[in-house]
Amino acid sequence: MKAGAITESKSASLISEYAPRRSFLSKFQRWEWMLVGLILLDVLINTRLSPFFLDARNLSRTSSDFMEIGLMMLPMVFIIITGNIDLSVASNMGMSASFMGLLHNMGVNIWAAALAGLLIGTLGGLLNGYLVARVRLPALVVTLGTYAFFRGIAYGFLGDQAARGYPAAFTYFGQGKVFGTLVPFSVALFIVLAVIFGLVLHRTTFGRYLYAIGNNENATLYSGVPVARIKLIIYTLSGFMAALAGLILAARFGSTRPDIGTGLELSVITAVVLGGVDINGGKGTMLGATLSLFLIGLMRFGMGLLNIQGQVQGIVIGFLLILSILLPGVAQQISSSRNIGIYPKSVLISLGVLAIFIAFFLFFFWSRAPVIAGG
């Protein structure tokens, strides 16, 4: 009788484990819905705070502001899903745009120059891919090296000069709109490419291989998947897309300086990670990354309308990045430690840490107070 009861409950738990009853609400627990909620919340708050936020022309203009980040984000999703990283994208973008600017300054036809820019960016990506996939160096070190190398080449090309005076046919790619609608060309390009990249990731064997590599690279290799070639392809693709983003950014600015796009790699990685892609690889969707790109873009636009400096906006984005990973983890920890109970020692430590931070912020504002009074 007793034994029967145990097996019964065991089988019940087995069933519930393998075929969980999906309630209507559980569908909304996915990260993508969370992002949609955050976007709506952001739109709601910003509309309350500024009358200029929900304006079609403003939104159309601001959406082209982060499309370069979006273009670099697409291949970055691939790379991070395989458990690697590419820190060199923004530098590669600078190198490609500077090369195009240099050729333009020398009097080369703009389209030939743009093609050469795309070529050098792709070669840069190939170099990354070769070092990561064939020489098998850690991706972080390789792309940190090329991060400096590519940016250095950009400075070498243009020095303290700037390339200016691009023809209108070229600046259309950064400033133009599609056939009299309010949709900027770069946004249309991004959406088309995002759909293509999303289909490749979620509907092709190549995409499945990316997840497989991210989950267990050795197992994937031993099941006959050409891991090295796939890595080579995605890094080369990343180089190409960085170059494309560089050209569009140059077209939007109407000029090129060697420091073009400095620091954008952080925005790209933030968008990918906030989009629910696991930095250790194996998890994530293209939709999530795209949604988080728009969330960050809209948040920055909203804060810009409120006259918050770009660097100070970084505080909010930084916290968002950390919290997006921290909160799910802490929630899990709390729910799993509920059975054990909290030890008095850890409470004391938490209080101590809290006191340190309160002291820090008191000092932070106290020492700053006279400055506000003065200026």
């Binding site: 972080l140 400096a148 400075y155 070498g156 060697p258 952080l266 400096q309 100070v312 916290f319 200026g375």
Partner: protein, 338 residues
């Protein structure tokens, strides 16, 4: 060497692979040779390179880099990375400079202690996010990189602190030479000696290596992995705080873009100095040589009149060459073993 790997030595022609073995075993030897070749080559082109003046200039230039690179090394040894070092330096330098500006009578030692305390708080924040919050180090410090930099702007409201606003005693902190060498160089040497002792002769120091080379094994052998991880980020913050005070004193200013991009240089010095990015491998002398190599390259490129615009590219190329040659040597050694 022969004792530890007798079969490998027996089966392979020792004369041919002797040099490679040495290079693989003593990473410092490889960098030293590279530095020597570079010094000779540059001296041939520009004789003014090999002078006492120029070398003390190089030492002065790399002191801060050496301190931060040692901090970065400890983090990388424990299989982490701290990308926020540049922003920590920027924020602490700004706060300390403000406080010193308002209290010119303040003892310099107090400014140093204040900087280290502030740095420790920032490091504590990193450590808590990574250990308690279970956020991967690269994400956590990427986040705090932009948070701390944003706080610099918020704190300063975009203004700078200039040389005339700082008292002379504070400026002399880095450049004074009561002991023959500039104070900053001496501080860097003292830090290096302490870190060397800590990593090699204390239990906690050895634990850092253990956690970095195999976290699970370290956990099973009774090392409190979380505590070690927390500690390295705390130390990283502390040393960055020290570096920040020296930075403000050396450049006699605190700007909103102080130390921007310095995280790259600190990682570069560590990696060039033979620290493995996957943790557990690396020595203090190696890192110091790595910092020296970066300093010499920067200095010599100027001396042999290479456009400053190409210097960043040269630095990047150097990192790539260092890691590629390291990998090449290791793979050759692996091959001779079989």
């Amino acid at each position: 060497m022969t004792v530890q790997n007798p079969p490998a030595v027996k089966t392979s022609p020792v004369s041919r692979y002797g040099l490679l073995w040495t290079l693989a075993r003593f990473r410092e030897a490889g960098i030293s040779i590279f530095i020597l070749i570079l010094v000779v080559a540059v001296t041939l082109r520009a004789p003014s390179f090999l002078t006492v003046d120029n070398f003390s200039d190089i030492l002065l230039n790399i002191s801060i880099l050496a301190i931060v690179a040692l901090a970065q090394t400890m983090v990388i040894l424990s299989h982490g990375i701290d990308l926020s070092v540049s922003s920590m330096i920027g924020l602490v330098a700004m706060i300390v400079a403000f406080v010193v500006k308002q209290n010119p009578e303040m003892p310099v030692l107090l400014a140093v202690l204040l900087g280290m305390a502030l740095g420790s708080v920032l490091g504590t924040f990193n450590g808590l996010i990574i250990t308690f919050g279970k956020v991967p180090p690269i994400i956590a410090t990427l986040g705090t990189l932009s948070i701390y930099r944003g706080l610099v702007f918020y704190y300063s409201q975009g203004t700078w602190i200039n040389s005339f606003e700082l008292p002379t005693s504070f400026k002399l902190l880095s450049k004074g030479t009561p002991l023959g060498l500039p104070n900053m160089v001496i501080i860097a040497i003292v830090v290096a000696v302490i870190v060397y002792y800590f990593l090699n002769y204390t239990r906690t120091g050895r634990d850092i290596y253990a956690v970095g080379s195999n976290p699970d094994a370290a956990q099973f052998s009774g090392i409190r992995q979380q505590r070690i991880t927390f500690l390295v980020y705390l130390i990283s913050g502390l040393l960055c705080g020290l570096a920040a005070v020296l930075w403000a004193s050396r450049f006699e200013s605190a700007q909103t873009n102080t130390a921007l991009g310095f995280e790259l240089q600190s990682v570069a010095a560590s990696v060039v100095g033979g620290v493995s990015i996957s943790g557990g491998v690396g020595t203090v002398p190696g890192v110091l040589l790595g910092a020296l190599l970066l300093g010499i390259i920067q200095n010599s490129l100027t001396l042999i009149r290479i456009s400053p615009f190409w210097q960043l590219a040269a630095q990047g190329l150097l990192i790539l060459i260092a890691v590629i040659s390291d990998k090449w040597i290791l793979s050759r050694v692996e091959r001779t073993k079989q």
